[in-house]
């Protein structure tokens, strides 16, 4: 019987060049994996987009129609089921799209193609603030949504600095609870092919890219590789520190501030702005929560002891 290690090593060999050496061992140790995208190589052919759609087809929503009537009337349904072919933005049926930036920089014209999807933050607010445990973070750094229990409240989209997740109405657990009064479907986004990675394979978008734009590997090594690449091309890095750090690292020959001005932004089309760490205040306040029981307990004990001492003194 093929051992897991031999299997993974076999897969590693077939994926040579797409996976950094040591990725399998890092996966076995439960280390965080990240992807590196060399934007100077991307020609915008869309192979990654097609592969993503193909591989994840079984995870796409199959909504029940007609949708339940929503109360109050301000609650709008989100239905992409008749527009499954849309591939120029993120939708519940399109978890990856190519954003194109054209412009001039340092007197030269440029066209940069940017594969856009969830960046898989190191400290993901979507998973940390989900009140229901539906949005989750895996030990290997993948952030994904459990479609079996997601109620489609869209909080993950609101708190995501890039507003990545997209909702499909008429599917999921809410239909079995209070379909008209709570929930509104399921949220969908890139899960970095977690099931393929669990089998030692690389995500579909990495596997099919004819230009070898992306590689995957342990985050520390991917970061080192990104710096090496940026130095070589005199380029710029995005994703290393955004929102406290992500597991998707872009390297571009054109600064991201310039790219951000040249891309179409809006619903389903995320920006490339600088993003401060969104969970920083929770870290400070969290320390206070953790200290409170000890401080409270000590204060209570000392109050009683000092009262006893005072009473003894008076007697």
């Amino acid at each position: 019987m093929l051992s897991r290690r031999s299997f993974l090593q076999g897969v590693l060999a077939s994926s040579a060049g797409l996976m950094l050496p040591g990725t399998v061992e890092a996966y076995d140790r439960g280390e965080v994996l990240a992807t590196l995208l060399d934007l100077s190589k991307c020609v915008g052919c869309g192979e990654c987009v097609s592969a993503c759609k193909e591989v994840n087809k079984s995870k796409f929503p199959v909504p029940k129609k007609p949708f339940p009537k929503m109360y109050p009337s301000r609650v709008k349904v989100a239905d992409w089921s008749d527009k499954q072919d849309v591939d120029d933005r993120l939708t519940p049926y399109n978890w990856l799209f190519i954003q194109t930036a054209t412009g001039t920089w340092q007197g030269k014209e440029f066209e940069i193609n940017i594969p856009r999807r969830c960046l898989h933050c190191l400290v993901p607010p979507c998973a940390n603030l989900c009140p229901w445990g539906a949005c989750l973070k895996q030990k290997n750094g993948i952030v994904r949504i459990n479609a079996d229990i997601c109620l489609g409240g869209s909080k993950c989209k609101s708190v995501c600095p890039w507003h990545i997740p997209e909702r499909q109405t008429g599917v999921g657990l809410y239909l079995k609870l209070l379909p008209s009064y709570a929930g509104n479907g399921v949220m969908y986004k890139c899960d970095r092919c977690y099931d393929k990675i669990a089998q030692g394979k690389v995500p579909a978008c990495i596997e099919v890219c004819p230009e070898g734009v992306q590689i995957i590997g342990p985050r520390d090594e991917i970061i080192a590789k990104a710096h090496e690449l940026a130095k070589k091309m005199n380029g710029y890095i995005y994703g290393e520190y955004e929102n406290g750090g992500t597991n998707t690292i872009y390297v571009s020959p054109v600064p991201f501030e310039v790219l951000n001005k040249c891309i179409e932004k809006g619903p389903g089309k995320p920006h490339l702005d600088k993003v401060p760490y969104s969970m920083d205040k929770e870290e400070y306040l969290g320390q206070a929560v953790l200290t409170a029981p000890v401080v409270g307990l000590l204060a209570g004990v000392l109050t009683v002891l000092s009262k006893f001492k005072k009473d003894e003194g008076e007697n």
């Binding site: 445990g133 973070k137 929560v289 029981p293 004990v301």
Partner: protein
């Protein structure tokens, strides 16, 4: 000696009320049901503010609860805790422990299995509901959590 004066009781009630409000507001329903449209309640639809406010309120409440626990233990009064008191202790412990686990989960260096996170989230929602029912029942039947010589 262990009883709380009116101001402390009022503060405790306000904290519990605000924690329930900010706790429910973790679910994206306040905007849906126009609550965030009410004057002065716009903040209930701001998920980050709500979350941080919940942390601040929880810190103060935990300080108060553990201050009281310290007083009960140091004065040797644990034996005066009634069975009703112990039910409340268990439920409060459930809320506080699951809350602390949620806080830990949000630190970058902590990792909990996703299934465990899901159960923690659900329990953190369930315990306050049960505690609310038990507290109502206690109010209705005039149950005390400490027996004489102390009043609660």
């Amino acid at each position: 000696m262990l009883g709380w004066n009116k101001s402390w009781k009022r503060l405790f009630a306000i904290l519990v009320g605000l924690l329930m409000l900010t706790g429910f507001a973790q679910m994206p329903i306040f905007k849906r049901y126009y609550i965030a449209d009410l004057p002065g309640l716009g903040w209930t639809a701001d998920f980050y503010f709500n979350h941080r406010f919940h942390y601040v309120l929880a810190t103060i409440l935990i300080l108060m609860i553990f201050f009281q626990i310290g007083r009960v233990i140091a004065s040797g009064s644990l034996r005066y805790v009634t069975w009703f008191g112990w039910i409340k202790v268990v439920l409060w412990a459930g809320i506080i422990i699951t809350g602390i686990l949620r806080v830990l989960k949000n630190f970058p260096d902590f990792y909990f299995n996703p299934k465990m996170v899901m159960y923690i989230d659900w329990l953190h929602l369930a315990f306050p509901f049960i505690l609310g029912l038990v507290a109502l029942w206690g109010k209705f039947f005039k149950k005390k959590y400490l027996i004489c010589p102390y009043e609660d």
